[in-house]
Amino acid sequence: MWSLSHIANEIHTWLSNTFNPTWTQIIEMVLAGVAVIGLFAALGLVLVLMERRVAAWIQIRLGPNRVGPFGLLQSMADTLKLIVKEGLTPDGADKVMFNVAPFIAMIVAMLLMAPIAFAKDFQLWDLNIGVLFVTAISSIMVISILMAGWSSNNKYSLMGAMRSGAQIVSYELSAGLSIMTIVVLTGSLQVSDIIHSQANGWWIFKGHVPVWIAFITFIIAVTAETNRAPFDLAEAESELTAGFHTEYSGMKFALFFLAEYINVFIVCAIGATLFLGGWMPLHFGSGNAFNHAMDYIPSSIWFFGKTFLLIFLIMWFRWTFPRLRIDQLLNLEWKYLLPISMVNLLVTTAMAILGWHF
């Protein structure tokens, strides 16, 4: 058995046999931190390459294919370039805020990793408000963008930050409401409970129409919350140069860039957990041959497979749709997504009480 939880348990047993409890705790915290940072780096490299490849294939191009076999080392080369670049701080900038902002973005992304279940029994912190925790922490994300935009002392940055603020604050509502749909069906905010409730079928199958609507609103809302096209008004390179990170260069820019991709990964992981059963294999009903066959695929592969499917969906959006105007963006949220998701939440509640789901 080479599952992730097995490895984690082995390490824990070895550490507790070798050191006293305090040191075990500290070493485990350090290990978890290192693992998260390693995951960040790996995700950054993979997702940037994936984005460029998906973009290329959708636009009938080849994409990066020069550095390494099939261009696999392209993002490595990009990272190297960003590391050796000078990290400029503009003269008129608020220097403290300017330099702190990218780290806030990274810290928020790191905190969001805590309640995500990567595999069966493999989770950093299974706290009882898991989903609410994610909603709460992701609302700090906007602060780093606002800080970056204001402290750059650049009108494009400021405009990008303001747009982004308006956008994130509004779309949080419908993202939260569509998360609530699943919470209503499960009766728990805890991530492990939500996953276990999908042992006899994922919510997207069990919850039929209301959950489909919630899924669509969730995907739209999180695309907006992560500032990705077609909702990338905060960056809007054709209007605002690069929006809130116009003045950033080198590694400080790279942190924003990385944080964007990490956030995409996290929201897709949350989406996969809520609607597609997290690490839960594809099950129909309980205890038939098909379910047993599915159980042979490791749970981490299920989780990452679903997450990357959703990431592909979001990339697919990015390279298909043109950017919205700010009034269209706010109309979409306040006149369409919010009323729809509120009515949908009511319908789901009725469905949960009357037991109309499978």
């Binding site: 805020m97 408000i129 609302s139 606002l146 728990s188 905010l189």
Partner: protein, 172 residues
């Protein structure tokens, strides 16, 4: 005796207090808002430390995601970037300090006089428990305050809509 938990408490408390002091002493208004934000995050950290995760998350959602973002927005719309606020007058500073110390003394007095009952270790507060208390109409339930507060919020929302409504152009 300093164990890890106590150290963590003092770190969080130091973050909260120092950011609070910085937020009133800085002359950059945007920095003041950001320090306030960190102070509020420190309070949320204390709730996490107490294992009241729900309250901590609500603290972050309401204060950080809502109120501080609102404050920052109003700064964006009214202030020029990079400008310092004018220095405060001395008499104002003195009165403010005095008022703060009075409040502090009052609180401290209360804390000292209050007899804290020893805490019985309980099952962790779950969201289900909070929800049931919130909707309970029996003794110790919060259904009435909950409803009254929701009425207040409704009134506030109606007020917002009335203010935001564009008044019809007067016919001449």
């Amino acid at each position: 005796m300093m164990n890890g938990s106590t150290i963590l408490f003092y770190l969080l408390a130091a973050l909260t207090v120092s950011c609070g002091v910085l937020s009133i002493s800085t002359r950059h208004i945007f920095r003041a808002a950001i320090y306030l934000l960190f102070s509020l995050i420190g309070v949320a950290g204390l709730y996490f430390w107490l294992a009241y995760e729900f309250i901590a998350a609500v603290q972050i959602v309401v204060y950080v995601g809502g109120i501080v973002v609102l404050i920052i927005f109003s700064i964006f719309l009214t202030q020029q970037a990079g400008e310092k606020l004018p220095r405060q007058r001395l008499d104002r500073k003195i009165w403010a300090t005095l008022a703060t110390f009075c409040g502090f003394a009052l609180t401290l007095l209360q804390v000292w006089q209050h007899e804290f009952p020893p805490v019985i270790p309980q099952a962790p507060v779950t969201v289900r428990g909070i929800g049931e208390k919130m909707m309970s109409t029996e003794a110790g339930g919060y259904a009435l305050p909950f409803e009254i507060i929701s009425m207040l919020l409704l009134a506030a929302m109606v007020g917002c809509i009335v203010i935001a409504l564009r008044s019809k152009p007067e016919t001449k």
